[in-house]
Amino acid sequence: MADSIYDVRGRIFDIQRYSIHDGPGIRSIVFLKGCFLRCRWCCNPESQAYEIEKVTVDGKPKIYGEDTTVGAVMDEVMKDAAYYRRSGGGLTLSGGECLGQPEFSTALLAAGHEFGITTAIESTAFAPFEVIEGLLPHLDYYLMDIKHVDSEKHKEFTGRPNELILENAKKLAARLGNRLIIRVPVVPTFNATESEILAIARFADALPGVERIHLLPYHRLGMDKYARLGRPYAMAGIVPSPAGLVEGFCEAVRRETSLECILGG
């Protein structure tokens, strides 16, 4: 155990400032490396393996992954302190899956609160609830992915079944109420039908306290990264949904549930 939370070490692959789609206000996202799922459409394939990866981009070497400390991450994150103060923004952990590095994630969120900024995580909640529970005292917003209610299909497209995820969603709702926000990547061939989206929305609507759901249209911006990593892109040939389709799902959600539905982040 490190003496101070600022000395806790962890592995990240990026920090993005001025994130305005992942939690309230202006935020910085810290991307942690390593994920439990292998979603076929994942736009950050470099986030999946915990191992540090060396690739070549335009003939130049590039390294995905960096071991660092909470202190070093917070130095970067707090460069935008004034923006967080004005906008109610702060720190968001994403990934990968921050639950894969619980000690590091807990320390980062605790550091965020020490600095007086809001904290959020973007997570699949695919972990024993005890692991998640450790983060909650320092967490303001949980942006949780629910990708499908059908476990078979979930497993087929993400590599994991969804029982644990749905179970955790219920427990989290009981603890966080409206600070739990459900996010759904809308992916053609996987869940991009009104009935599948509505099934997720109804599940979310039944969670006590949960008020918001975000539908995130599938995009192909991560495609080139697969090539660099020397991996096949399982979604090759799948085109993003036509404009208006996801907007239509949003309307259906608004009609069929009491949730506030937002297109995009």
């Binding site: 400032r17 001025y18 305005i20 206000g25 736009c43 923006y83 004005r86």
Partner: protein, 843 residues
């Protein structure tokens, strides 16, 4: 004071029609003013210049053709055809005749011109040749200054060839007392003079010129009244007949007398705005704090039940349309620098009153609404922001921004007020500041700021360090030493500072020469009648009649200098990857890369000249080899590889704009190399120099005249605009970029700084998007940024507009301190805007 939370009214059909009518025809040149000014000058050769100016002004006011267009409520045009331009031969003559044949087809700001107009201009020019401000100014410049101008170190073209403009007059005086009131003041001052005073002759002549000018503008308004009456008689439509009758009544009343209603106030302000531009050819004549000086008239009418907010909105919209009716034809080179028919009539809303209370009012909101109703480049709408600016107002401004029009620009009271006080303004005066032209703050009604005095390309002195002051074989700069002797970074930096300071001195010489020429040949009595304290001092603005006098030339290229100095420090002095001499060779050979096609021949000619002067023989074979190398880049593979390695290494270095303290500190120092030396110089009006850091759009053409720079920028490509990071180099998002920019010392650049940001529309989506956008602006200002402006247009839209200009006739974009119609910009400036880093917010 009444505050509006949510304000929105629909645009009227009249305003839509007026807007469309403006763009129905191509702008043209009209010759009437050139003819009239020549007629008058011929008659008055024996008289003092100030009197000649007043009489010429009167002749123009009496004879300039006038028109009242369909649907207009606010009347008065400088030309018969909308958006057209008069010519001002008293300032310069030489450029236009040479450009007659290309005016209609040139890439930037074309104008039609017909044969009779050409003939009228030829006749006017024949008279004025040898008598212009431009020629007198050139004769006053030192030979080394002319050499520096010839070698594109700086350009003083703005006032060298045109009127000065760049002023905000006391609109409130005209609203309150009219020109009869101002005339009365001049008469009183005249009667207070003693004929035995040492300066009686000049003072009395000036005051009489003011009186002539006041009468002249009243005559001009009277002509509109008469025309409106005449039109009313012929009008069959009862509604329009009533409107015309009303116009006649208003023009009889103002601007002779004080305004009694909001309508009269609108018309009076437009007459002032219009006639100032007819008198002087200056641009950036800025209406200033319109929401403040107009508010009492609006409020009184509203209270008395004489007006509704809808009717007032329509009048404001009509004023907006008129601001777009004003145009100006510049020479081809200047047209590129001010591309987009820029008139820079800056109108600012919000901010504080003299006592430091928030001054945002209903009109502030209505002005934002007007730019939604009339989404055109004029006015250059600005918003003052301070800690007490209401959020509702910031949100309304952000909504306007989201339309993609590039308006409003934002200004930070918390930096500008202290900056103006550091230049001598009192606290109440500084709190009343407005913006001139692009970004230049000043005390309205009391200042002759000479704000756009010159563009100084900070990259050129750096080039001259590499060549020991030589450019194309001519000693343009000073000798700062052989490269091998600059064996420490400190020596190199010192050489840059000395080179820069010397060239700044030459620029000052150029500006002062032009300044004197304006005072001697083109003093402006009408303008001076509304600027404090010309009547009291008995002299024109051009002779130092204003209370505050400045000269503000602009430096630009800070990002290139900061990134370049950093590269030199690291690669030459720390890592010793290359020697300074090798670096110089790489720059001279453009890192082995091809030159843009249009620059190959000029570059080869300059190089040949340099070799010849060095005593070398340059034959056809050498020329052919140089052309080939210019077209294709170096043919030496070893060299190409070496240069590529250097470029790659430069690319890896930190760059200004990413919130990196080390390089940001270097940028701050780089800006000081321009802003500090300038402060010690004085101008002929008894004022001092103050620096601005913005390029208008000159970073594109002047970048075109700049060789490769050590930051990896290739030859003849644009230089960084304003205080913005190099295009595409700010890769850590808008907060990091804004933090870097805020680390510069903006207060010392009291003539204004300009920071361009570009956002993808998705970043402003929804209410949350707007709120975050507002937070970004407020935080940049909290960090002591001075100005920021935005383009909110997607890259795809702009690319499509380049391909299909006909579909985007009214696409307005932010250029630099002003907005312009995208399709009217030259291709290279369009590319520059497209290449600015686009911030979408992290995905």
């Amino acid at each position: 004071m009444e505050k509006i939370k949510e304000y929105s009214v629909p645009v009227t059909e009249r305003v839509v029609r007026l807007r469309e009518a403006l763009y129905a025809q191509m702008p043209r040149i009209e010759g009437a003013r050139a003819t009239l000014v020549t007629e008058s000058y011929r008659e008055t050769e024996a008289l003092p210049i100030i009197t000649r100016r007043a009489l010429a002004f009167r002749h123009i006011m009496e004879k300039l053709p006038i028109a009242i267009h369909e649907d207009e409520l606010i009347v008065g045009s400088a030309t018969l055809r909308p958006r057209s331009s008069q010519i001002f031969p008293e300032f310069s003559v030489n450029w236009i005749e040479g450009e007659f044949e290309t005016l209609a087809t040139r890439p930037a700001d074309p104008f039609e011109i017909d044969e009779p107009t050409k003939e009228a201009i030829r006749r006017a020019n024949a008279y004025f040749r040898g008598k212009t401000t431009s020629e007198l100014a050139a004769s006053y410049m030192a030979p080394e200054t002319l050499t520096a101008i010839e070698h594109n170190i700086f350009t003083a073209g703005n006032y060298f060839y045109n009127g000065v403009g760049h002023v905000t007059v006391h609109y409130d005086w005209v609203l309150k007392d009219g020109f009869l009131g101002i005339r009365h003041r001049a008469e009183e001052a005249l009667s207070a003079l003693s004929v035995s005073d040492g300066d009686y002759c000049k003072r009395s002549e000036f005051l009489r010129a003011v009186i002539i000018s006041c009468d002249a503008v009243i005559t001009y308004a009277g002509r509109y009244a008469a025309l409106a009456e005449e039109k009313a008689k012929a009008e069959r439509d009862a509604t329009r007949r009533a409107e015309l009758t009303k116009i006649a009544e208003v023009c009889r009343r103002v601007p002779a007398n004080g305004a009694r209603s909001f309508y009269e106030a609108c018309q009076a302000v437009w007459f002032v705005q219009l006639v100032l531009q007819i008198e002087s050819s200056g641009h950036s004549i800025s209406p200033g704090r319109y929401d403040q000086y107009m508010y009492p008239y609006y409020e009184a009418d509203l209270r008395a039940g004489k007006i509704t907010s809808e009717a007032a909105q329509e009048l404001i919209d009509c004023f907006w349309v008129k601001l777009n009716d004003m145009n100006k034809c510049r020479d081809a080179a200047s047209a590129i620098g001010f591309a987009g028919y820029g008139m820079f009539q800056n109108l600012i809303v919000g901010g504080q009153d003299a006592e430091g209370r928030d001054a945002t009012n209903a009109l502030s909101f209505m002005c934002l609404e007007a730019s939604m109703h009339v989404p055109l480049p004029q006015p250059s709408l600005s918003v003052r922001v301070w800690n007490g600016t209401p959020d509702a107002f910031m949100m309304k401004a952000a909504e306007l921004m989201r339309t993609g029009i590039g308006l409003p620009a934002y200004y930070n009271d918390e930096v500008i007020i202290p900056a103006l006080m550091s230049r001598g303004a009192t606290l109440p005066e500084a709190r009343g500041y407005n913006i001139i032209g692009c970004v230049e703050p000043q005390v309205p009604g009391k200042t002759d700021g000479w704000h756009d005095a010159a563009f100084f390309n900070m990259c050129r002195p750096l080039e001259l360090v590499f060549s020991n002051g030589m450019d194309a074989g001519v000693q343009v700069g000073i000798r700062t030493g052989e490269l091998r002797d600059l064996d420490t970074y400190e020596k190199f930096f010192d050489a840059y500072c000395r080179q820069q300071e010397y060239l700044i001195g030459l620029m000052v010489n150029a500006d002062n020469a032009i300044d004197v020429a304006h005072a001697e040949r083109c003093p402006l009595p009408f303008l001076s009648s509304m600027v404090e304290d010309c009547i009291g001092k008995g002299k024109s603005v051009q002779e130092g009649g204003a209370i505050y006098n400045f000269t503000g030339p602009q430096g630009f290229g800070i990002a290139n200098i900061a990134d370049g100095l950093y590269a030199i420090r690291r690669l030459v002095y720390e890592e010793k990857l290359v020697t300074l001499t090798e670096f110089a060779e790489a720059l001279r050979e453009n890192y082995g890369k091809p030159l843009p096609a249009e620059y190959v021949y000029p570059a080869v000619l300059a190089r040949a000249e340099e070799l010849r002067r060095a005593g070398k023989r340059v034959g056809e074979a050498e020329i052919a080899a140089m052309v080939k190398e210019g077209m294709n880049g170096t043919s030496d593979k070893m060299k190409a590889a070496r240069y590529q390695k250097l470029l790659d290494r430069i690319a890896e270095l930190p760059k200004f704009g990413n919130d990196d303290d080390e390089i940001d500190a270097l940028a701050r120092e780089a800006a000081y190399t321009y802003t500090r030396p300038l402060e010690k110089f004085k101008n002929p009006r008894g004022g001092s120099y103050q620096a601005g850091l913005y390029p208008v759009s000159a970073n594109v053409p002047l970048g075109g005249q700049t060789g490769a720079t050590p930051d990896g920028r290739l030859a003849h490509t644009p230089v960084a605009d304003g205080v913005s990071p190099g295009a595409g180099r700010d890769s850590h998002g808008p907060t990091a970029a804004a933090n870097s920019v805020a680390k510069l010392d903006h207060t010392i650049a009291s003539n204004g700084t300009l920071y361009n940001m570009k956002f993808h529309p998705s970043a402003l989506a929804g209410r949350a998007g707007l709120q975050n956008f507002v937070s970004l602006i407020r935080t940049y200002f909290e960090n002591k940024g001075m100005h920021v402006q935005f383009n909110v247009v997607s890259r795809e839209t702009l690319l499509d507009a380049q391909k299909n200009p006909e579909k985007y006739k009214t696409l307005v974009v932010r250029v630099a301190g002003y907005s312009a119609l995208f399709t009217t910009l030259s291709r290279s400036l369009q590319d520059d805007i497209i290449n600015r880093t686009e911030q979408a917010g992290a995905k």
